[in-house]
Structure formats: structure tokens, C-alpha cells
Symmetry: none
DNA sequence: TATGAATGAGGCTTCATTCAT
DNA sequence: CATGAATGAAGCCTCATTCAT
């Protein structure tokens, strides 16, 4: 137990430190020496948990995606009016994207073909879940159906992603809720449904 | 003149080949050997036109941004109803973003602080121009004013950027025009103004 | 006693597995991980029996040399006509060399000076014994004395060693007995003494 | 010309320095840093001429083998009595083996399967040439035919190889000529043919 | 101006060795 | 005694950069 526990904790520590190092740096600007030092382990230890630098990078980038997808699925299945499910969902994903925007940047930066595939699989998972919710909105007659679900999805997630960048680099202070409301205005059939001041 | 001309052409060739190499690769995965070979010049020649790898990278990423900004400013200044200026503008920027999405990814990948600044300057330029147009829309009473211009901007550009990724990695076929229309629905005060079937 | 026994067996198991690993590999291509795994012990256990990798290597290479030397001395001392002693001896050494050709290859691959010495000591032991026999042959007037014992020794052992390589890499099928007979023809004074069909 | 010349010379310099480094050391005990330093070139330069450490090692080990084989073939074809061709040949090969005994040790130390093959090809070349000469001796009725050519070959080369080791590690002073004469006594049909005091 | 052979700093990775359990 | 997780020294190799031609 202690054994398993420690092992799992060490892995998490490495992932965290990798996250901190990769967050604002290029892949090649991150030194595994630093990752190890920050995690408080020896350099060689990294290789007990990860095949190599790229593997560590990927594991880090995908860390938490599945839990996230799970939580999002739960929300989508909740017994609530669509409007509420949507805003719950939106805030959840907005927060996730803020914390793990790395993942979205990194899709473009993978060399190995096979890993590329794994990566895209995870990404598609998230896309699927989000589109599932939107599809429900359409089916329930809340969201418009003159555009595709893909269009709506793009309109929803795009701003949430871009927001992170603007807030970071442009010192803007764009709120998730504002974006969700704007999306709602564009996507919903009967505007009066809208509400949700926060 | 021929001298100037040749020089300029060679620079352009290098930038193009750099673009092709960087497009789908990590910074460190691109070898200057390959860039030079693809451009049909010797490796040393790169250093006659660019200070170093990062410089080449930046020049490439920013290549065309100023022209783009210029063109966009012109559109914004045109003597046309806001609606038309908007859609012209939107399609222009949609195309630009499609071709040069690199630039947007790369903001995060610069080591040198000073270059970071230069980069952000250019980015801000584009942001400014776009927000200028949107501000005009608000001032002219076409766009809603209950959210900030920054919010509207994020809602406009975010999907255009995300679209590129989805079309590429998810094999979606999201249209710029659809996104513009959706934006319009969310942002405009009197929906009946909207039109533009294309 | 059981204690002693077990210990000795484990040591033997390690030596055997080391032998199998080193047999066809470079020193640096052998991983102690593999040696331990093959021997069915933990990696740390190796260090209970051997000082370090090089020590294990040496012990393995020299393993059995002394017994061999002993057996050879016995043969040399037997109360038999020289001819018979020689062929017994030759076949014995031919078999030994076939099994432990490693040892002979390895002389060249030792870093530590002190270990080098130990190694050479063992080698010299074998040389001595062989030359002892040949000296007896000369003294008894069976072998020629117009060349040195060292020359004869070289003529005897060289082919036995080279044979192993040819059989292995060249797929030859050279017999120890043939080589012994050839040596005999070259080395003996009165050819009619020679016989030994097998 | 100067270009080609320089390149070829540099390669030779590297091979020589590699030879000196590998001569008395284990593969893993040789540092490419040292090879480069000894050759008076930069570390990276090694990689302009050789794929990697093992490649350098092989090229070095095989360096000169083909010339040697060529020279030996010439001797074998000379218009001389077999006896003279034999001793010429023997002395040539004795000297070669003395200088390049590395090659023979190294057969056992190659990891890559493909390189192993190349290596064995070269070795077989030498074996072939030597056996060609011995075959001629048999055909001309000078050498005995009651043993195979492979046996004779093993009897000839084995001692020449072993001699190098004994002289080096045992401080013996075994002469090539003595060994050749001994071989001759064993292999020739009419002993009176033998002569060659030197 | 253009080249590409040469360089060497620097980082990933391996694996012998240690030591807490 | 036995283990194997952890370590970090050490070296191969890459590739941006330089510079003689």
C-alpha cells in the first residue's frame, strides 16, 4: 500500500513539475535536469516512470483529460433543464481549458506518429463529449438546428481557448460567463430562455 | 535593382521553406539543414539573412502580418455599411488565420524576452485593428454594447482560430461564413440587419 | 553446511548466467540486470558475491581454470608413454578451450591493472602446465629439440584456439584429433612413433 | 584534388587514432573525445566520416584488410616454386596478423547483426585467400592431402595468431619463421623439400 | 556573396552501484 | 541475506553556428 502509494505520488510529482516547466517553455527549452530537480527526484528516476522526454511530455499533456471527460459526461447526463446543464458544462470546460491550455497547444508539436494518434484520440474524446451536449440541446429544441453541431461547438470552445491567450498576453480580463452568454445568444432559438446572470 | 531583387527573392524563398518546415513541427524538430536544402541555398546563407534560428523563426511567423494589418485597416475605413465591412473583414481574417495559424501557436514558444515583446507587438497590432472595427460597430449602434469590445473580439476570433484546428485534426468542414453569421447573431442589436447569405 | 551449500550454488548460478551473457557479447553490452534476471536473483545480490561488474567478469572468465590446470597436471604426471599422455592432454585442452574460449579473448579487455595481473597469472599457469608436458616430451627424446618449447606450445595451442573460431564463424568442422596429429607430425622426432587413429 | 586529398587524409588520421585507442582497450573504455583529440579534430567531425562509434570501430578493424587480401593473392599467383610462395605468403600474413590482431579479436564483439555480417565477409575473404594457396600446394603435390585444406589452414594461422598474444603477454619471442617451418614439417609430403633457413 | 566542412556545447539517456526496507 | 527503487556520473550524439575558401 505504502509502496503503491509512494509510487503513484512520485509519478504525480513528476507530472506536476513537468507541467510547470513545460507551461511557458518550448519543448526543447525544458531540461529534464530541471524537471527532476523541481520534482525532487534524481534524473534517472524520470526514466522509471516515463519512456523518454517526449513520453513525459505527452503524459503530462494528457494528464487529467479522462477525468475531465468523465465529469463532463456526468453533467451532460444530469436531470436538469438544458440551460442549466449548458452553463454548468461551460464553466467546467472553461476552467479546464484555462488550466490545461497546454494540451491544446501541443497537438501540433508531436513528432512520433503513434503518439500523435494517442493524442488525437484524447482530443476527440473531449470534442465528442461537448458535441454530445450540444446535440442534446438541438434535439430538445433549445439550440438552433440550421447550423451543424460542429459549428456550434467551434463557436463555443474557440472563444474559451482564445480567452486564455488574451488574458495572458493581452492583459484582458475576459470572463467565461460572458462568453457563454454570448454563445447562448447566438445559438439558442428563443432568446427569452436565456438568463443566468452568473 | 536586380541585386536587390535577387536578394529579396532569396529571402522569400528561405521564409517559405522555413514556413513549410515549421508548419507541422516543433521548433527543435526543424533542422536548418533541411530549411536550407528546401530553399535551395547553402546552410551558411541562412545566416546572411537571419541572425539565428530563432530570428528566422520569428521573421517567418510574422511575415505578412503587417501587410495583413494594413489591408484590414483599409477595409475598416471603407465607406460601406458596417455589416458589409464586417463580413469583408471577417472573411479576410478567416483566410489569414487559416494560412498563418502558425503565428498564433508560436506566441508560446519564444525563449528570448525581447523577441517575445516584438512578437506580442505584432499580435497586439492585429488585435487592435480588429477591435477598432468592432468598436466602430458599437459606436454606430450596430453591435451591442452590454459586453466589452474585448469580449466581442474574443467571440469573433476564437472560433476562426479553433476552426483551423478542427478542420485539420478532426476532419471537420467548418465554414468561415457560418462562424461569422453566428457571431453576428450574438453581437448585433437588431437581428433583422443581418443578411449576407454568403 | 546447508548454508554454505546454498551460497555456493547461488554463486555458481550467477557465474553461469554471466557466462551465457558474456559469451557472445561485448563487456559493455552485457547488463547486470540481465545477468541477475537470468540467474533468478535480485540485482543487488550480485554485489553480495562480487565486488563489481569487472570482478564478476573476471571470476567468470577464470572459473574452472584451476581445476583444469589440476587435471592437466595429473595427466602430465601419469605413468604412460609420452605419446599417450600427449593425446590425452591434447584432447582435454581442446575441449577446455572450446568451452572457455572466452577466457582467451578476454585477456585484452581488462581495464584494471591489478586484475590484469591476476588474469595473466592464471593464463601463465595454463601455459606452464602445457609447456611442462612438452618439456617432458623433449627430455624423453620424443619431441624435437631444435626449436624451443615455447615454439612447440604455440604450434599446439594456436590451432586449438583458432579452431573454435573457424567452427563457429566459418562453419568449419575441424577436429581436435586432426590438429593433434598434425602437431605430432611436426613435433616428433621419429614419425613412426605417431599413431593414434583417434 | 586538395579537397579530396584532405578528406581522405583526415579519415586516415581518425582511423589511426581510433586504432591506437582501441588497440589495448575495451570498446566501452574508449572515449570518442579521446579519439578525436588524438586525431586532432573536433568531436563532431568524427560523425562526418563515421555513422557512430561502432561504425568507426568496424571501419578501423577492417581497414587494410582488402589491400592485404590483394597482396596475398598476388603472392599466391606468382610464378615461383610453391615452397617459396608459401614462405613469402606466410611471412606476409604473420606480419599482418601482428599489426592487425585487433581484427581477429573483434569478431566477437559486434552488436549489430548487419555489421557482424560485413565483418565476417572480410574475414572469410582472408580465409579464402589463404586456403587458395594451400589448395594449390595440395594440387601441386607438395602438401599432404590426407587432411582437409581447412585443417592445414587452421594449423598455419592458429599459431601465427597465438604467437602475438604470447609475445605480448608472456614475453615470449616466438618467430614467424619458426612457426612456418614447423607447419611445413607437418604439412609437406617430402620433408627434404623443406629448407628456408630464413 | 555563397558555401558546407568543421566545431563543440549541451542534453538525453543508460546502467553500474547503493541502500533502505 | 536479499531486493529493486533510486541515483547521478559519464559519454554519445546532434545540430546551430562559424569561417576559410
Amino acid at each position: 500500500m505504502t509502496r503503491e502509494r509512494k509510487k503513484s505520488e512520485k509519478r504525480a510529482a513528476i507530472l506536476q513539475s513537468a507541467f510547470d516547466e513545460f507551461k511557458n517553455r518550448r519543448f526543447d527549452a525544458v531540461k529534464l535536469d530541471d524537471v527532476a530537480a523541481r520534482a525532487g527526484v534524481g534524473k534517472g528516476t524520470l526514466y522509471l516512470y516515463f519512456k523518454n522526454k517526449e513520453d513525459l511530455f505527452i503524459q503530462m499533456a494528457l494528464d487529467g483529460v479522462e477525468q475531465m471527460a468523465g465529469r463532463m459526461k456526468e453533467i451532460a447526463r444530469m436531470d436538469l433543464p438544458f440551460c442549466e446543464r449548458f452553463f454548468l458544462f461551460g464553466r467546467e470546460i472553461g476552467a479546464f481549458v484555462e488550466k490545461r491550455s497546454v494540451m491544446f497547444r501541443l497537438m501540433h508539436q508531436i513528432s512520433s506518429e503513434s503518439i500523435q494518434q494517442e493524442f488525437m484520440g484524447q482530443h476527440r474524446l473531449l470534442v465528442e463529449v461537448a458535441r454530445g451536449l450540444l446535440k442534446a440541446g438541438v434535439d430538445e429544441g433549445v439550440l438552433r438546428s440550421d447550423v451543424t453541431v460542429a459549428d456550434l461547438h467551434c463557436l463555443l470552445i474557440g472563444p474559451l481557448l482564445f480567452r486564455v491567450r488574451l488574458n495572458k498576453f493581452n492583459n484582458d480580463q475576459i470572463e467565461v460567463n460572458t462568453l457563454l452568454n454570448l454563445f447562448w445568444d447566438a445559438a439558442v432559438l428563443k432568446p427569452e430562455t436565456r438568463k443566468l446572470e452568473l
